[in-house]
Subunit: 190 residues, 2 copies
C-alpha cells in the first residue's frame, strides 16, 4: 500500500544549522590533500569528505585557492607548534639535541600524513605566492626555535638536514631508523 510516507522517501540531508562547518571543511581539505594530493583536491572531493553539499564550498570560500591556503596554514601552524613546544622545554644543548631527534623520529616520520602534506606544500608553494608566504613563515619559525639552543649557522644547517632526512626517508623503500637519525644529527652537531 502506498501509505503516507512517514519518513521522506529520499533521505534528504538533515542537518542545516552547523556552526564550525568552515573549520571542518578545512580539516577535510587537509585529509583530501594527504590522500589525493593537491592535484586531486577539488571542491567536490572536499565536500564529499566533509559530507556537505557542493554549494557549501562556494559559500564559505571565495575560491579553491583560498581553501588550500587556509588548510596549509593550519598544517604549518600545528607542526610549528610542536616544534616550539619540544624545543622550548629543553633546558640545555644536550636536551635540545634529544628533542630534535625525537621530533624527527617520532613526530615527523611517525605521522605519515603530515609528511606527505609537507611535501605537497613545498611544490604548491613553488607555484603559488600565497603558499610561499606560508612556507617561509613556517621555515622562519622552526629556525627561530632552533636558535634558542644553537647559533644561526648551525640552526640553518640543522634545519636543512632535518628536511633532507625527512624527505629522504619518506620516499625511500627502507626508511631510516631512529638510530640512523640520531647518528646523522649527532654527527653534524659534534
Amino acid at each position: 500500500m502506498s501509505g503516507p510516507t512517514p519518513r521522506s522517501p529520499v533521505p534528504r540531508r538533515p542537518r542545516r544549522h552547523d556552526p564550525g562547518r568552515r573549520d571542518r571543511l578545512i580539516d577535510a581539505a587537509l585529509t583530501v590533500i594527504a590522500e589525493r594530493g593537491v592535484a586531486g583536491t577539488t571542491h567536490r572531493e572536499i565536500a564529499r569528505a566533509a559530507d556537505v553539499p557542493l554549494g557549501s564550498m562556494t559559500y564559505h570560500f571565495a575560491s579553491l585557492d583560498e581553501v588550500l591556503a587556509e588548510a596549509f596554514t593550519r598544517h604549518a601552524d600545528s607542526v610549528a607548534r610542536v616544534f616550539d613546544e619540544r624545543l622550548s622545554a629543553a633546558r640545555d644543548r644536550d636536551a635540545a639535541i634529544e628533542a630534535v631527534i625525537t621530533l624527527v623520529s617520532d613526530d615527523l616520520l611517525g605521522a605519515r600524513q603530515d609528511l606527505v602534506l609537507s611535501v605537497e606544500l613545498y611544490v604548491a608553494a613553488a607555484r603559488n605566492p600565497a603558499l610561499r608566504t606560508v612556507t617561509q613563515a613556517w621555515m622562519a619559525r622552526s629556525r627561530q626555535a632552533l636558535e634558542r639552543h644553537f647559533d644561526a649557522t648551525t640552526a640553518r644547517e640543522l634545519d636543512a638536514l632535518i628536511e633532507g632526512l625527512v624527505l629522504h626517508s619518506a620516499l625511500s623503500t627502507d626508511p631510516m631508523t631512529p638510530e640512523q637519525i640520531r647518528h646523522a644529527i649527532c654527527r653534524h652537531l659534534r
Copy 2:
C-alpha cells in the same frame, strides 16, 4: 571556377616528416612541468610547447602518464649522469668533497629548472608507483656514486643533507651561498 589554389589558403602546418619528434615531445614535457607543474601539464600544453598538433600526442604516447614517466626518467638520468661523472673523476676523498660542493652549488642550485623538476618528481612519485620506481632508481644511483668515496652510512647521510640543502635553498627567500654550502658539507664530513 574557384581557381586552383596553388598554396593552401590557410597556412597549413608545413612539416610532416619529423623523425625524433617523440624525443622533442619529451623535452617539451619537461619544459612544461618546470613552468606549470605536473598539475598544469596537459596534452595540449605539451603539444603547444613543441609546436605540434594535439593528435600527435596520442599517436606517440598511450597516455599522459606515459609522457610523465618518460620525461621524469630522462630528467633523473641526466642529473644522475652528472653526479656519476663528477664523482668518478675525483681521485681521493678531498677531491670527492670538492666535487660534491661543486655539484650542489653549481649544478643543482644553479639550474633552477632542474631543481623544480626534482621537487615535482618527489610529490608525483608519492602518488604514482611508476614514478616512485624512477625516484628510487635515481636515489640508489646517486648514493652508489657517493659510496665510491665514502662509507655507506656517510653516503646516505650526505645524500640526505644534499637533498635538504637543495630543497631548503630552493624555497627560501635568501638562498644559501656557496660558502654556506661548503661549510655545511665540510662540517658533516669533518
